[in-house]
Amino acid sequence: MSTCPVTLETLPQIPEGREILTCLQCGVCAGTCPYGDVMEYPPRRMIAMMRAGMLEKVFTSDSLLACVACYACMAKCPRGIRLTEILLPLMKEQALAHLPELPGELQRALQNTLRYGNPMGEPSRKRAAWVKTAGVPIRIFAEDRKPADTLWFVECYTSYYPRGQDNSRATARLFHRLGIDYAILGNEEKCAGECGRLTWEPGLFETLMDYNMAVFQKYQFNRVVTSCPHAHNAFKNRYPVLGFNWALEHVTPFLARYLDRLKPLLTRKLPYKVTYHDSCCLGRQNEFYEAPRLLLKAIPGVKLVEMVHNRVNAICCGGGGGGMWLDTYFKAKGYGRLSERRVKEAVATGADVLAVSCPYEVSRFEDALKVLGCDKRMIVRDVTELLAEAMEE
């Protein structure tokens, strides 16, 4: 797809932009949208308004904030219109610009990301503090400038949040046992500024992109592996415009490539019934459906069960598109929480473990389990955490 930054004015000039006008008005997008019941202007109506020259009305409807950038509409569009990738971010940018006041939690997340390189407002100098607790040596480029084969871009939640750090420690142990030659950016790392979330603050995204590219260019490596599917998206779809041309993978498909070497290391039996939640960015957007399942099936004792909505049909956790920082806003408007909807499906499978591949999902699903009173019946684990658990020392 085109990686040139597009505006509403230049939209008709690119093929994907002209494609938008071929919309059939079939409404499958609205029907698939997990928040379709609250969207005043789902993609279908948006495009109709565009054709009618009445886009201003769309911008002043704040229901656009409920778009969690889950790619469901885009995956189902019979015309293949690049809804989530091109149209929706531009619409959201306008919707935000027209809001009288930005919701407080979202404003704080944006301001923190600009100032401290992470939405939580944690000190940039503590980003690599978790490294000391990893239990295995982790090389930081700033301290040891030798080239490495792999740059592991850890990202924010996986650096600062306790549950995210569990994931990072597991990943580090796996990399170590597999003999991967890697290094991390440590405190020099800042949020990748992922598309769906930050495209409607393009200035902020550009600032982060400029910064990260400058840091990348200081060191030598052959590939980038990241724990965060959102960062993966940013690097894949936006960063090439500034020269990002390294091989890129998310940790899950990366580990799947090493399955032959990994499988013999998974010696501890984990007698869990596991159901896997396809994250929107890894799943629908990049079609990485089988890699995580292969990894899970390689763990002795694990029995895999599928939720009703799986693979391309998976229901978003609600964290994308800024949803991570709009919970209060949605609640005040009476929107149901997507993570609760999804967790109910997970619990219905009778599984013990809800396996995920995106750092946002861990806190969202653990929260939902608590609220639904199911937190004793089911736990949430990232695929890397399960793999590390199955690896005996």
Partner: protein, 261 residues
Amino acid sequence: MHVLVLLKMVPDVVEDLEISSSGRALDLEYLRMILSESDDHALEQGLLLKERHGAKLTVLALDAPEVDDALFTAAAKGADRVMKVEGMDAPFTTRQAARLFSQVIADGHGILPADLILTGVQAIDDLDGLVAPLVADELRLPYLGIITGISVDASGRTARATKEYPAGVRGEFQIKLPAVLGIQAAEKPPRYVPVAKVRAAMKSMKIECAEAPPSAGDGWPEVNVLEMKRNEPAGHAEMLEGTPEQVSDRLCGILAGRGLF
């Protein structure tokens, strides 16, 4: 109507603060500076007054690391004129800061007349005084602090200001303008301005610079810091053991000892 907002940069406490080798001051090398929180509210209140009354808004800051960011952000939010005082010795105390503001305001630069001078009620480093009352006294203007709302009457000569008291009580005051007000909170939280707008302001607006007047020995007593150290958090709670009655009693003793009753 003309509103002047005074801004001060303070150490950003999100990053760890380090003590310098003298043991008596902060290590400036590791410091990041951020706009004082209540000054940000003063700016927002100034912007609200501009929107409501068509007032002209001038923002004046003292030179410090990252102050340009704060000033361009103010410009992007709608300030008509952004200025900074430079050329003074850093670090400076609050009394020195207030003196610098007052001198530059009084010295010309087309800042006066101003109907309202707004600044934050208190900053985290205001060890030897507060900016608002000091500037008010230097300029011989009335002063009121802990303000959470301002409206100006049609004549532009009187303002009604809301001041916060204990337990959620508020007081409404009539103030003859011009006056200096110490802002506790703006009527709305400080607005967000997209990064792109700030970058645009960097290209389209200029920060005017005023040279700091020479710091004459004003005969003020110096602030003598004998020692500075970090307040280290404990890392884990002190656990109280025993029956519910025993721990409750012990806890009450602790609360009483801390004056929390």
